[in-house]
Symmetry: C2
Subunit: 380 residues, 2 copies
């Protein structure tokens, strides 16, 4: 573990607040699960916030135990000497509210009723997640962020950070993001939802955690998997190979791609909570950077920091055109903006599968940012 952050522990901040959500509802008190890597410098100017995707968590790097099979989800990005260099940066990653990985979500106990929220949990927007992260930083005494970096739902959070807390953010790096979820992406999430709703074990969200709606949830995850991949990546990985265990003319015979979806969908059931999955899907669907602004222009005009954007050629979930729409508007507004379309076959997942294709560009961006002390950093 030469260039690993080593053994890390998830911390939990208990915030005695009531957060006013976009829906008008109040949520609190809040628990925020988070991890940090590296050391905070004296003027707190070296903080990089990493924001996670749909089913991600605060465990972005290192291992919790020596014998963990896998490190955190962005371990190839975070560590001593890596692009998010923990010798220089203080990296923080928190689990979003609405999730089930330690932060307040539908599995949490509602202190007012002493029972789990389940479907009484309020519908969230990504903006609410970011406001909760801001409360966490307040709690930790962190007043500025050198950068907010994330992919997919993480990109949405980065954008929201720059729009709603421009005085705190010195740069954002939205990767494989979108300014608003397309009807295609919503339709795919609708399939996932319906797969769960159709499962009698779901019981309108009142399943016991030890008896989740496993069949429906596995199918829902399979929908997600397909949307994260691409025609090309499936060709490369599975082509039309038929399972060696099945006869090609068996009614229940399967292609390898089907076995893969089954296996991964089934595995996922024990790793994530169904209701949390649904709440986060809803937040993705509702994502629109221009929400509660007069226009996209007005929303993006809030951004005062430089931004670096990556999109991927084979991403058909959040298509490059969607990133390009934002980049074009930012350029029109004379913002400092840098955009790279990365050639990759791995669909939406490209940002996780082939980070080496954009790491040098990110490194370059961060090094300029780091050195650029002349950049006026307004703190409140």
């Amino acid at each position: 573990m030469d260039n690993s952050v080593g053994i890390v522990t998830t911390k939990h901040a208990e915030l005695d607040v009531e957060l006013r959500l976009e829906s008008g509802r109040l949520l609190g008190p809040l628990t925020l699960a988070y991890e940090t890597y590296g050391e905070l410098n004296q003027d707190s100017s070296n903080v990089i916030m990493v924001t996670h995707a749909w089913t991600g968590d605060s465990h972005a790097a290192g291992k919790h135990n020596e014998d963990d099979r896998k490190p955190g989800w962005w371990d190839n990005m975070i560590g001593p000497g890596k692009v998010l260099d923990t010798n220089r940066y203080f990296v923080i990653c928190s689990n979003t509210i609405g999730s089930c990985k330690g932060s307040t979500g539908p599995t949490s106990i509602n202190l007012k009723t002493k029972r789990p929220y389940r479907l009484t949990f309020p519908v969230l927007m990504v903006r609410d997640m970011v406001r909760a992260q801001k409360l966490l930083l307040d709690h930790l005494g962190i007043k500025s962020l050198l950068a907010v970096i994330g992919g997919s739902m993480g990109a949405m959070q980065a954008i929201e950070w720059a729009i709603h807390f421009p005085e705190m953010v010195r740069a954002i790096v939205p990767i494989a993001g979108t300014g608003k979820t397309s009807p295609m992406a919503i339709a795919l999430n609708a399939l996932a939802r319906q797969a769960i709703f159709n499962d009698p074990m779901w019981k309108k969200g009142n399943y016991q955690p030890e008896h989740p709606p496993a069949d429906g949830f596995a199918l829902a995850r399979a929908v997600g998997h397909i949307s994260f991949l691409s025609d090309q990546s499936m060709q490369l990985k599975f082509d039309r190979r038929f399972s060696i265990r099945d006869g090609m003319f068996d009614f229940f015979g399967k292609f390898e791609i089907e076995r893969y979806l089954d296996y991964n969908g089934g595995n996922f059931v024990s790793q994530f909570d169904t209701n949390a999955f649904l709440y986060l899907a809803k937040a993705l669907d509702l994502y629109d950077v221009a929400w509660n602004f007069d226009s996209l222009t007005e929303a993006l005009n809030q951004i005062s920091c430089p931004s670096l954007w990556f999109a991927f050629t084979s991403d058909w979930l959040y298509r490059p055109e969607q990133t390009e729409e934002l980049v074009t508007e930012l350029q029109r507004l004379n913002k400092t903006v840098d955009y790279h379309l990365i050639d990759s076959d791995y669909g939406h997942d490209s940002f996780l599968v082939e980070p080496e294709k954009y790491i040098p560009l990110l490194q370059d961006f961060l090094s300029k940012l780091d050195g650029n002390k002349s950049l006026d950093l307004k703190t409140k």
Copy 2:
């Protein structure tokens, strides 16, 4: 109904045969439902076979009753003065075996057991469907086809016709087709399958017809709907509009695209049989033009007739590249081949939604073919 074929009746041919399937199993006797439009000329040289897609049927044109709300599925193509001009051509369309619209399929009674086949029905390939159509033409005394024309699964049938019965076919027009179903298309069908398998009402295929697995089947159809549309067509039709009946922050609130999928999926349940849907999905997945040949080249080298191909820019289910692979190989083999990539936003469904974009090209192709009596027509 000026340029309509008028009131038509579906006929049923009872074929006392046992068809040897690709799987090695025998299927028979066979019923083939079919319709014809126009008059057979004296030398039977004016027959055009139209082949239908997944959930299509033999009712391609006209109405069964004066008060039918809708005409047949390709009524805008077939009729007096239309591109498939019934003043000139004798058009025939038959329901494929494996379906549930009058031809032998899983809902049919197995004469050996006196009970419906259900899951004892053999797994079919598209090739088997075409062999059954050949038996129907034998039965009708038709010895040659001026053209075989179809979209999607209909395109597959057209290709198989040209490969397996080259002596009978004078031209084929595969529209929005593919030479082999991609793993992405298989993966989407796998979702549809699993949605049905997850429904307790499915009972491993032994549901009563009046109590189908409605929830699972509606969800399966929604998967199909998404794959037939495109990001662009959904933007045009639904954008991100939220249902006016729902609150945006209702957990069960829906976007318009979701309501559309619900509505159409639910409607479909009463229109099609679930097991037939599954058998046809399987046939689509197994489709590979090179199956049982040494190579794609060997398969395509069987084709002796001219072919006209259409693909659509926004079709992400059977992508234009898939048609182009076949066209390129046919060109390399010095076959007479014509290919047009049609610019359309309507995804795989483009061939049904915007036929006006390719009708002139088809008309031109047919007129040349029609006049070209010098083209040597071999009959067996």
